[in-house]
């Protein structure tokens, strides 16, 4: 097992800490003007990328759920249809990131994980928008979304990779000494 064996109470606090981090990053992201509201940079995905190496599967799903709820709360979209895009994007990306990290860890760094997650999120949201919003015209907005997703996910991935390599906090968590 690659995750530490701390007590359940410490572990749930740790999930809460990462979720709070996602909430804060959602707020930061909300401040940045964007051409369309659901074109996101994905800052709030950073805790999800970093959490990959620290959490169990169940904790990871809990974190994804908290991120969706927190983001909906921050952006005020929790009771609108936009939350469906958030759910689709977050769960598609967490699923793919978890699979890539779990089974291809030797060959992929967090940069690749981040790109895969961003692509999964964008494809899921574009597919959903095809049925909910735009119909066949959804494919016309695909290129800018995917390009923005690729660039921002590379930046996030580099950050996450650096964090994983250099953070003493992260290392001590991995070793289970917190």
């Amino acid at each position: 097992m690659t995750y530490p064996s701390s007590s359940p109470k410490v572990r749930i606090e740790f999930v809460a800490l990462l979720a709070a981090c996602a909430l804060f990053l959602s707020t930061v992201e909300y401040l940045i003007p964007k051409p369309v509201p659901f074109m996101r940079i994905g800052l709030a995905n950073l805790p999800l990328i970093i959490g990959l190496g620290l959490l169990t599967k169940r904790e990871y799903i809990l974190l994804a759920l908290l991120k969706v709820l927190g983001q909906g709360l921050i952006t005020g979209t929790i009771f609108s249809y936009i939350i469906l895009f958030s759910i689709a994007g977050t769960f598609a990306s967490t699923l793919l990131m978890y699979i890539v990290y779990r089974f291809f860890k030797q060959w992929v760094s967090l940069i690749g994980v981040s790109i895969a997650g961003a692509m999964a999120s964008n494809v899921a949201q574009l597919t959903l928008s095809q049925y909910l919003l735009f119909g066949a015209a959804a494919k016309l907005i695909a290129p800018p979304f995917l390009v923005v997703g690729l660039i921002s996910s590379i930046i996030l991935g580099v950050f996450a990779q650096q964090f994983e390599q250099n953070s003493a906090w992260y290392r001590s968590l991995r070793e289970g000494s917190l």
Binding site: I111, G112, K139, P143, L146
Partner: protein, 124 residues
């Protein structure tokens, strides 16, 4: 970055392929002009440079179109007002003819190029 691995490059390249494929949705708008006809709940595509005639059935009867010398018009229609026939010939991308009673929509798609001596796109 010292930690970039093979899998990262593969994922990156796959993403580029995905993005490239997504740009394909723009590509259709350029190239040879083609006549697109929506009728009977489907869409037909005709080459504007090939002379032909075609008929489409709708709620009030049959609408026939003719493509001739790079132009298209409605030859005959069973509708009441014959607005579609009165619309005459169209030949450049972006132009369209509609027969509303019979649910037939004819349009020309392709890259819109300014024609010498033509009407300006903006100040019509």
């Amino acid at each position: 970055m010292k930690k970039i691995r093979l899998g990262d490059i593969i994922i990156f390249l796959l993403s580029l392929v995905l993005i490239g494929a997504s740009f394909g949705s723009y590509g259709k708008l350029s190239g040879k002009p083609e006549v697109r006809v929506q009728a009977e709940g489907r869409e037909w595509v005709y080459d504007l440079s090939v002379n032909t005639t075609a008929s489409f059935s709708g709620p009030v009867g049959t609408t026939s179109i003719e493509i001739h010398d790079g132009k298209v018009h409605v030859l005959a229609s069973d509708c009441r007002n014959k607005v579609c026939i009165a619309a005459g010939w169209i030949s450049s991308a972006g132009e369209w003819i509609i027969c509303l009673p019979n649910n037939v929509f004819i349009r020309i798609e392709g890259s819109i190029e300014p024609q010498a001596g033509g009407v300006d796109d903006i100040s019509f």
